[in-house]
Symmetry: C2
Subunit: 214 residues, 2 copies
DNA sequence: TTCTGTGAACGGATTCACAGCA
DNA sequence: TGCTGTGAATCCGTTCACAGAA
């Protein structure tokens, strides 16, 4: 069942879940695919089709019960449980990741952080003691984690990813600017702001910056 | 011409450009779509088709001249020129962005940074004086920027994006966890690590963390 | 022979359009 | 009447397969 659901669909589910939680926190109880779509810039048909892969959550003529649907989606996505995350690379970016308050409330707990720089190892950051990256495997053997975040320089990234995979990590969030190679059972998402910028400049390059009329 | 090129294709071009520059820096002069594809995990046919939208850059039987192709791609993407970028939001994330050394070498220059917190305004970070976000419009009127980076909390993000757009920004890199609404001529890319994690957990949720055999 | 460039075939995702239920 | 759920139709991106150039 899991296997024949398009990946794009799975990637939209968390977007729906978040928007629905938002509506819920505003006291809303029911929403139509129409309204949700307007809020997200997604067509209503798309939303209904996506949801139909997983069940029949709506009521004809009414719409979707928001609380119910959020719970279903969180269940489907595995967001009801907690996840253990390890971070490799504690430079500026790694530090920002450790300080970022958005992971824990969603159940993603960074349980260990590693770096190779002796000046960084031993530091306590956001309540976590940075360990030497050489201890990655043994630390993960004692306390497994499902997810790894890679925030090391490009030159070291593939090596670190290989070691995370060898240590049992099943999903990797890669901030390094490389096309990571992993075995098929491991999942990877890339975060690369430079690539994002470089693909946007294609569209704006002919229009020089301007000051709009006041 | 610009308009009928699939966006996915445009998004792959910077990936090619980077890989090619890498090869170039290793002294390579020619590469086939086959080899490039292996390096990137992209099929050779895909690469050839992508490039064919823009011209005929290869030599049959030989492959692509790397230097030539990099230059073509950089030209197409507008990477030969410099771009002015403003950052809004100088929390942990914003600071990391200011310190990040990956933008400037690619021609993306952060020329101004804004925040709303009086404790942050006036600070000098990575050589840049943080300004009050209330001065966004006038600063951009005096010194336009094509690109805005949004690193403010979700609650403020849409408002900031509206003001960036009103100030002439044409492309936005949005780190805030919202579905930003912008006019059609403005381009947006999202960076949202939580969404990335949440779409991966779908695939790994049934397999608990384990320690692989040593 | 090798590898590009590209129409044609294919497959997958989106949108349509409507039957059916509340 | 309003809105879901869903097959069918459409659209779009990827892959195939091969003609043709070096």
């Amino acid at each position: 069942m899991t296997l024949d659901i398009p990946e794009v669909v799975v990637e939209r589910l968390p977007i729906y879940a978040r928007a629905l939680q938002d509506l819920l926190s505003h006291g809303r109880e029911v929403v139509s695919s129409q309204e949700l779509g307007e809020q997200l810039g997604i067509t209503p048909a798309q939303i209904r089709k996506d949801l139909s892969y997983f069940g029949r959550f709506g009521k004809q003529g009414r719409g979707y019960n928001i609380r119910r649907l959020v719970e279903e989606l969180r269940q489907i996505l595995g967001l009801e449980r907690d996840w253990s995350v390890v971070l490799v690379g504690v430079g500026h970016l790694g530090k920002a990741i450790l300080h970022y308050g958005g992971f824990a409330p969603q159940g993603f707990h960074i349980i260990a952080a590693f770096d190779s720089d002796p000046m960084t190892v031993g530091q306590e950051i956001a309540g976590l003691r940075v360990q030497d990256v050489g201890r990655l495997r043994e630390t993960l053997a004692a306390r497994p984690a499902e997810i790894g975040i890679v925030a090391v320089p490009a030159t070291e990234a593939q090596e670190i990813i290989d070691r995370l995979v060898a240590s049992g990590v099943q999903a990797i969030l890669n901030y390094a600017p490389i096309a990571a190679r992993v075995p098929p059972q491991v999942h990877v998402r890339h975060i690369d702001p430079v690539l994002s910028l470089q693909s946007m400049t294609f569209y704006v390059k002919d229009a020089p910056a301007f000051s709009p009329p006041k």
